[in-house]
Structure formats: structure tokens, C-alpha cells
Symmetry: C2
Subunit: 272 residues, 2 copies
């Protein structure tokens, strides 16, 4: 991607986990990053109203709120609790000025992965009217199959597409994260199938050896993912919105945030 | 699976990495495990002829040789070298008295995963006539997508089925390992599609948290995989052969092998 395209760059806040929301906002301003994706645990420190005010005052645009989801649970009352937490997430997204809530759909509470997948569909079904009232779209993000046991039972773009297709694109779509989908032999077919329904595009890289199951992502260009090829496919499928850099990696969190943003911009220009 | 079904139990030798081949054979005899799956690095210590003699004298049956594959490489001469190594693996399988060579197909030498997948298909195409002459079938084992970067670009049973369908089941089939495929939303369809083509069935479990990317497997019953459900599907697809227990886990390697085999038999009877 050319240097000029940095106007699509969004800092997903988990990339600079070492920064709180205020520091991340200031960092984006200093480095002329126009977009930010906010994580809910980062809002807690300042409260929702103050977080929303800081963002508004900064002029930053919010590409998404991360995250809703986590629908499956062992009992009906627990599932209701999860749903209510999703209502809060929708309200937070609206208040922060983004139209996209990313869904990390959650693992099974037991071994029954089929049932958990049904609970995900039920949860989304119940969440859609509330989200629509608030002008918030739900972006189903398939997670890499290595997270099927503890983070999400939605593990392929095909699955996410199937779930999203029950709704209008203004209600539910999919989020494509290269780290989660790069290995999929059906990836480019499924990106085409998602035309008009892609609500977000996330980049990082798959580095070898993978340093950690959760904190295992690398900077764009440092790994084996054909990031640029996937970006082009996503663009052909109609997605021209912000591109979030979402890198979960302890060694990146251990560096000064400004160094990280400098490298993010450089690697984004070269490899995305 | 009932206790009586232990006649299908096979010790995949990597489960007792702490044992050499002689110790593993003696362990199987002591614990009345009728099958063994041999790894090539374990043959080296004794040499092929002595290894084959030890197995023959023991009366153990060999469920498979692990492994051929690793087809993709950057240059034609390197790929030829990989192919020749596969010829040796076929000869070893035949000498050891097994009709099944498990293929771990290999990663891409660069970022081009599509090209690597083509090289896998080319490698198999060139290997089939040689294997057939030696009475050895090639079992394509899809590996979990978390190994797409460093072990295999064949990551779903659907992919393995598609590759295997070009051949007779006497030439090429698939190997179903629950650890690699349990998360797949299309799993049961693909097992049905593999009817008559399943050459092996491997069990372990997906434990949480995953202790390590490579050495991350648990004992059957200790994790989240619906092992028994998958076994039943594999049986409906016509596979009634040996079931290999293949657990790659440092903490299991740190225990006395006899303790491991005792637990393997118990967990196999309870959870497979």
C-alpha cells in the first residue's frame, strides 16, 4: 500500500496495550494516525462519557469497538447476562461514535461445539434489533481455529458469512482479520462471497516460530501472510474503509508506544 | 469405547518419546497394546533391518509409519530431494510391515501458500506409483491450521479429501486426527465424504490452556474434543482399523513410559 494510503490506517488499541486510552489518542495525533479502534477494557479507566469526549475532542475517527460476543454459556440466565453485556457494548459503540461492534463470539462452555454455535446464532438474533436501533452494525469476526476452545466457535469466514447472510448488511456483516483467516484454502472464495458485507479489515502477521498462542502476532511483513493479496481481495469485495493494525504481542507491548507506532506506519506502508 | 475394544489401540510412538523403539516395543508387550505406529527418527538408532526384526519378533502389528511428506521447497532440486526421501520412507514402511505411510505435507518455503499446495499435489502424484509398487498406501493427514506456517499447508479434511479423490483408495487416502480437525464446522460432512478412504484415526485431546503450539496435546478426556462422536462418524465412514494414540506433550514425555501407557489404556477405554 502506498504511503498516501495511511488515511486508512487505524490503531487497534490492543497493539499499544501499554498505553491507556488518553495516551493512545495522543499517540495517534502525534503520528497522524486518523483512526482508532477502542477496546472496552480501556474505556473503564476513564468512564464512557469521558472516553467519548476525549475521542471527539481529538478529531480521531473510531473504526470499531472491540468487542461484543461471548454468547454461549451453560445456563439460560448466564446467556441472558451475556446478551445484556452485549446491549451495553452496543450503547458504548454508539456513544463512542462508531457504527461497528466487533463480535468475538465465544467458546463452548463444555464439549458441545454444535450447541455453542447455535447459541451464537441465537445471541446475534436477539442482539440485532437493539443494535439496529442504536445505528450499530455487528461484525462477526471468525477467529483462528486455534482459539476454538477458549475464544470463539466461529472459526472460518465461511461460517461467519453463513451467519451474516440472514441479515441486511446494515445489520450484520463480517470482519476479516488476516491472522485468523490466512491459512484457509477457501479464503478467496469466501471473501468474494462476503462482497458488500465486510465491516472491517485487520492486519498483523503470522511469525515463526509463533511466540505464544494468544500473544502470538507479528508486525506486517515479519511473517508468512500474503497481506497485500488479501487486502486486494477485500477491496474487490467492496471494502474501502479503515484498516486496523491489531497486534497482540508481549514484546511489542514492552516497547515504548511511540516506537511501535513509528514501525506500524512504516510496515503498513510497505506491506499492507 | 469399551474395554474389549483395546484390540484397536495403537501406540503412536511420539506419545512415549522418552522411549526408544526397543523400549516402546517392550512397553506395548507388557501392557498388551497390540499395535504400534513407528516414527522414522526412532528407527535410526537401531537401523531399519534391526528395527523391522525387533517388531516382527514382538508380534506387534504396525499401524503406520510416520511420516512422509514435506514436499514443498524453493528449488526443483530441493523438491527432488524431498521426493527421494519419500521413496525411502515408502521402502521403510514396507520393510516394517505396514501398508500405510502418513503424509505431513509440509509448509511453504515462502509466503505463497497456493504454490506450496500445488507442490504437495505434484509430490504425491510422483510418489504414488512407487508406493503402489511397494504395497504402501499414502495417508494425507490434514494438520491443524495453526501448523499452516511451519508443518503443513493441508489444513482441512476437505482439502485432504479433494487431493485423495484423484486416486484409488488403495493408493491414497486420508488420516483423521481429532486434534487437527475437531474445530472444523464441516467436519462430519467431510468424514462422510471420506467414506472408504480413511487410512488412519488418531486420538488425543485439546486441553486448555494449550501448553505449547507443538507439544500442546492432552490425554483423551482431559480436553474439549468430542472424541467418541468423531470415532463413531469415522466408523460409519467404514474405518474399523487401529486407533493411534498420538500425544505430543512435554509433561507426558517427562513421566515414566509405563505410567503413560497405563493411563493411555484407561483413558482410551473411557473416552475413545
Amino acid at each position: 500500500m502506498s504511503q498516501g494510503a495511511l488515511d486508512r490506517l487505524s490503531l487497534n488499541q490492543i497493539t499499544t496495550e501499554q498505553w491507556n486510552l488518553k495516551e493512545a489518542i495522543e499517540g495517534c495525533i502525534r503520528h497522524e494516525v486518523p483512526w482508532i479502534s477502542v477496546w472496552r477494557h480501556k474505556i473503564e479507566e476513564f468512564g464512557l462519557a469521558e472516553s467519548a469526549r476525549m475521542i471527539k475532542d481529538s478529531g480521531l475517527k473510531v473504526s470499531s469497538l472491540c468487542r461484543g460476543g461471548m454468547f454461549p454459556a451453560a445456563t439460560a440466565s448466564e446467556r441472558q447476562g451475556r446478551l445484556e453485556d452485549n446491549f451495553r457494548a452496543v450503547e458504548e459503540a454508539a456513544e463512542l461514535g462508531t457504527d461497528t461492534l466487533v463480535l468475538v463470539c465465544g467458546p463452548a462452555p463444555d464439549r458441545d461445539i454444535d450447541q455453542a454455535r447455535k447459541w451464537v446464532e441465537e445471541g446475534i438474533e436477539k442482539l440485532v434489533p437493539f443494535a439496529e436501533q442504536h445505528g450499530v452494525k455487528l461484525g462477526i469476526e471468525p477467529l483462528h481455529p486455534m482459539y476454538a476452545g477458549d475464544r470463539s466457535v466461529v472459526n472460518t469466514l465461511g461460517q461467519a458469512n453463513q451467519m451474516a447472510e440472514k441479515y441486511n448488511p446494515s445489520q450484520v456483516g463480517v470482519v476479516v482479520d488476516v491472522f485468523h483467516v490466512w491459512w484457509d484454502p477457501d479464503l478467496y472464495n469466501q471473501i468474494t462471497r462476503a462482497t458488500g458485507k465486510i465491516l472491517g479489515f485487520h492486519v498483523s502477521d503470522w511469525i515463526l516460530p509463533v511466540p505464544d498462542i494468544f500473544k502470538g502476532r507479528g508486525m506486517m511483513g515479519d511473517g508468512v501472510i500474503e497481506i497485500n493479496r488479501i487486502r486486494q481481495a477485500v477491496e474487490r469485495a467492496g471494502y474501502l474503509g479503515p484498516i486496523e493494525v491489531e497486534i497482540i504481542n508481549q514484546s511489542i507491548w514492552d516497547r515504548p508506544g511511540d516506537d511501535v507506532l513509528t514501525e506500524v506506519k512504516q510496515k503498513f506502508a510497505e506491506h499492507v
